[in-house]
Amino acid sequence: MDDSDLAAIWLTLRLATVVTIILLIVGTRIAWWLAHTRSRFKGAVGAVIALPLVLPPTVLGFYLLLAMGPNGPLGRFTEAIGLGFLPFTFTGLVIASVFYSLPFVVQPIQNAFEAIGVRPMEVAATLRASPRDAFWSVALPLARPGIVSGAILAFAHTVGEFGIVLMIGGNIPNKTRVVSVQIYDHVEALEYTQAHWLAGGMVLFSFLVLLALYTFNPAPPGKTA
């Protein structure tokens, strides 16, 4: 492995970490809303969040690229506040990845919140816990298995991105050239040995992540006793 490989690995881990942290914050809020709302928009919001599960990454990447570009609403906004344009930057990659991996975080956490039901929250309220307090002291601990699953899936899925990275980030060393793109370059250049190292490493990494998910994630504590 050469320096560019190591840089790609480092960039990938950095991207996945940042995206996972953002997704845990944003995804938990959305999951809580979806689990408890009686809004008629619940179905529509759930469907929009699930879109990346079925759309090719190129479609999502295409529209994000347009939105972030000089004529897109997001692009005009970022330019107005002095950030310039996001395509072909690390920040752009982070934003795209957050959209792309959102359903992998929201769905397990939403399922966990729905399994808890309203009773533990009612009990907490009758024991003087404000809704915010009860969220932290009851809902989050009870939903922990779902949150751990969501975090692991978000990290692993971001590491495994390819199409959306190419659409939004291109192939800029140290900025947007992640491992999956690096492998593509190696194969294009017929550098099969280097490709093997990285590809094999990805297989091993993915296997270990999934093994951890299926082995160590404790079974949900079930409904309240």
Partner: protein, 357 residues
């Protein structure tokens, strides 16, 4: 310190519409069949459901007054709720569950200490266990302890024994009685079991289809004969007695203001108070004292009035035994033959007594 509870709340085709004045102490039972609105009423008191038109106050503390838009959310009301399912937090130990509410009350406002409550409810040996390792009765005791440790001004219990078998019920009932005896804490107790109500309650509210049918002291309400047959053939009165003597032939003599009754030997000492339930169907009437009968218990009584029952062949007779109300359910034929009428003095023969404590 009285409790005023007025709620109007519509749920689909069900409407709760009650206006209650309840005593600020003792156990008030909300009794009714399923669908009578008793649980809904309790949830409205807790603030878990918001009545569109409601007023709820304990003494001078007003928790809800929709006339001026006041609604104190449940977590700001100093109350305790025990649900039918114990609903313990599975991620916390028994101790953690009990401390959950206590931690959220200012130490100056705490009324009980955790060790004292654990002792009272007999859960000291369980403190470090996870809830999953407890029996149903133990879990419900922990739930009661958890509610008490939040230093409530009122304890709301929603059929806390309904999910338990008889053995577990008998295990918990003494603790519920101690709650009432040891703390001056008003308890609102929702139940559909006449026996539980007769054993525990001081004040009784009968609910039917979302409306209150009667509300008053337990003995007064139970001895009313004009009520719709909510208790059906379970009509009967509750009397407070005192153990007067332990007889040599395996009986205990109980005395109450209307007379004396003999029951199987009780373990309590002489002088102990025992609450008894006398079902109307276990009381027969005789115009003259009966000597040649196996029925041991006979008290002097005077007929107050008569009322029809749920079956055309029977009537319910309300009696006054020296100030103690009694009910007798007899056939209409017997009533006609004996010419039972208000003011008639007679003997009430009690065939069986249910001892409640």
């Amino acid at each position: 310190m009285d409790i005023r509870a007025r709620f109007r709340l519509a749920r689909g085709d069900f409407t709760l519409d009650v206006d209650l004045n309840l005593p600020g102490g003792g156990i008030t039972a909300l009794f009714g069949h399923s669908g009578s609105g008793k649980s809904t009423c309790l949830r409205a008191m807790a603030g878990l459901d918001r009545a569109t038109d409601g007023y709820f106050a304990i003494g001078r503390r007003v928790w809800q007054d929709e006339a001026c838009g006041l609604f104190v959310p449940p977590h700001q009301r100093p109350l305790g709720v025990v649900f039918q399912e114990p609903s313990l937090f599975p991620h916390l130990s028994v101790r953690g569950n009990m401390a959950y509410g206590q931690k959220r009350v200012l130490s100056a406002d705490r009324r009980f200490s955790l060790p004292a409550i654990a002792d009272l409810l007999g859960i000291e040996p369980l403190l470090d266990r996870p809830p999953a390792q407890l029996s149903g009765g133990e879990r419900q005791r922990v739930a009661i302890a958890r509610a008490l440790l939040a230093s409530p001004q009122i304890l709301l219990m929603d059929e806390p024994l309904a999910a338990l078998d008889l053995k577990r019920k008998l295990e918990i009932l003494p603790y519920l009685e101690r709650l009432h005896d040891e703390f001056s804490l008003p308890v609102i107790y929702v139940s559909h079991s006449p026996d539980e109500v007769a054993r525990l309650a001081n004040h009784l509210v009968l609910l039917d289809q979302g409306r209150q049918v009667a509300s008053g002291p337990l003995r007064e309400v139970l001895s009313r004969i004009d009520l719709p047959a909510i208790f059906a053939d379970d009509a009967g009165v509750v009397i407070e007695t005192r153990i007067a003597a332990q007889e040599t032939d395996g009986l205990s003599r109980l005395e109450f203001c209307g007379g004396r009754i003999y029951v199987s030997r009780r373990d309590e000492p002489v002088g102990a108070r025992v609450r008894c339930r006398i079902h109307a169907r276990n009381v027969s009437l005789a115009l003259v004292p009966q000597l040649h009968t196996s029925i041991l218990n006979s008290v002097d009584a005077c007929v107050v009035d008569l009322a029809p029952t749920d079956t055309p062949g029977h009537v319910l007779v309300r009696l006054d035994a020296a100030g103690e109300p009694l009910l007798a359910r007899i056939t209409r034929r017997s009533a006609d033959r004996l010419r039972i009428r208000p003011g008639l003095a007679l003997k009430a023969q009690i065939k069986a007594v249910a001892l409640l404590a």
